[in-house]
Symmetry: C2
Subunit: 333 residues, 2 copies
């Protein structure tokens, strides 16, 4: 078996009350990120669109004012923070790419304070109180475009790991931010893939990330119960949400982390429950449904190979027979 490699992962679950400004939400999240770093988290991830209340509850043109270019003021603040804390930081932002073209975007920032990767949400939901197709242009790059650096990582002075007796993957050279489809990105301690919320319902997204080497899928999320739904139905929804993400861990033999907000915003109560699974789909850490929490877990990355040797699904995929997956439906008439 390979040497043990670990990642101490920190997830930031908080509320974004409707009467709190983006600036205040950002400051609050920064406090929590500092706290997570203080607890030893090496990679820290925010919930979806963490600087604002969940504005897609309504279609309102003025909400486009919340979007910022990347790089932009908020991303710069986060880059400075990552550098100060010497952490990898994955943040979910509302991106202004061009006038009239806005994306739901995640960025990965390395401990040098550089944006090393960018992912624009590929699957966009749209149903009552989740009017995301109004706001978010779908991510647009092909699945097989190179997204991790084509240069072999070098074990240069950029490897800032200290006090560890385990061999760590070196920090790759920074890749310029840019549009991409399903991606994987090297960070200091693990290869990650940043997917976003609705993506979590699509096994294709998880698989394409795994095939690019992802060891950890990050799903910043804003998922909620509607106040008029019965409690039983609410619990079913939350269970489905957990099962589908645990299934990605199982099918692909990798770690999965979901980061969801808490609190009531108008008609929606976000159910929190941020969690981390191991490559067998077992939950190794889970937050409450209604409290702000910093969820931290140490991920033993050597479990990935161990799990995949036991149940070698990636060996047995029938890649000769999957062409139909690129069809909407497979009609025979």
């Amino acid at each position: 078996m390979p040497n043990k490699r670990t990642l101490k992962l920190g997830l930031i679950q908080h509320a974004c009350p409707v009467d709190v400004s983006p600036k205040q939400n950002l400051a609050h999240a920064i406090d929590m990120i500092r706290d997570a770093a203080g607890q030893g988290a090496q990679l820290i991830a925010t919930q979806e669109l963490f600087t604002a209340s969940y504005f897609p509850q309504v279609q309102d043109e003025s909400h486009f004012d919340l979007a910022e270019p990347i790089p932009g003021p908020t991303s710069q603040t986060l880059c400075d923070l990552a550098k100060e804390l010497q952490v990898d930081l994955s943040a979910s932002l509302f991106e202004k790419r061009a006038p009239g073209v806005y994306h739901n975007t995640s960025i990965m920032i390395d401990p040098a304070g550089q944006i090393t990767s960018q992912y624009r949400k590929m699957h966009i939901p749209d149903d009552p109180r989740f009017y995301e197709k109004y706001y978010f242009t779908p991510g647009d790059a092909p699945a097989n475009a190179p997204t991790v650096s084509p240069n072999a990582p070098t074990n240069a002075e950029s490897d800032r790991s200290e006090g560890s007796d385990c061999p760590l993957p070196p920090t790759p050279p920074a890749t310029p931010p840019g549009p991409n489809g399903f991606t994987a990105q090297h960070t200091r301690h693990a290869t990650t893939a940043m997917l976003i919320c609705w993506d979590q319902w699509f096994p294709e997204a998880a698989r394409l990330s795994a095939l690019q080497g992802a060891e950890l899928l990050l799903y910043p999320t804003a998922i909620a119960w509607h106040k008029e739904e019965a409690d039983e139905e609410n619990q079913r929804q939350r269970e489905s949400w957990q099962i589908i993400q645990r299934s990605h861990a199982i099918a692909n033999g990798l770690f999965v982390a979901a980061i969801n907000r808490v609190g009531t915003e108008n008609d929606l109560t976000f159910w929190g429950s941020s969690f981390i699974t191991d490559p067998g789909g077992q939950i190794i850490a889970q937050a409450s449904t209604d409290q702000e929490e910093i969820l931290i877990a140490e991920c033993d990355l050597s479990l990935i190979e161990q799990t995949r040797r036991g149940w070698p699904f990636l060996r047995d995929r029938r890649i000769d027979a999957y062409a139909g997956l690129s069809q909407r439906m497979i009609d025979h008439d």
Copy 2:
């Protein structure tokens, strides 16, 4: 919402002790199938390779003698049974296709006693005590070959439904048995897809079945605990096995049924636990881990459209970005 359509589904979970002959196992299963039909089951499904103990525990050339052509003696017995009982019957058999070419095959038999569809296991496992790559040639047809009848079904005299006040899908004309990849097949009450055991770990197989119109995935299975494994690990394995199959129901908005054997055969104890989920992934019926059982549930097929309207994942698939799924790994160097 569409009219309510229902399917009364029956699963046959039993033991295949190592000292019992295939002839005796077949007779025992026939008794249980009769019982299920007597309880009103309209579609009945066997567990994987239900006429024999799980012979792939060892590599033994003589075990190829268990294989039969299809049509063959066992399939003919089952066709006669389906006709007598007026049920749709899905059976898992060890098929001899040619000298040296054997398949792990499911057939669908209609109430006229005709084999209407045939599926040859596409994903073949191989690990200690599950030496399936030795015995089973992988299914060989492309994913997008037409497998359901190209003729629009007609509401002919072949529709034998009686005593129902619901409009039923008509029985399609029989399609000749033949090799096929991932398939869907019309039966009297539902469009099904027959997948087999190891297939259950591959979201691709479930998706390709759903895209062909499947309303119900059938997974005949032979999955077991090894006697030397710890109980905690055993429970994790069973949980993973349930989660991955429940995830297919969720991702695709359809019913899923798994049919597993029980009993100890040499080093393996098969964990039973046959179950049926609704299109939300909720388990609506589940058998024990160690008893022979006929598991029957009424499936309300109208839940499929209702579920998919609520969470319209099939609407939002990014078919422009899934080409990479036909790659083994997506390398960027």
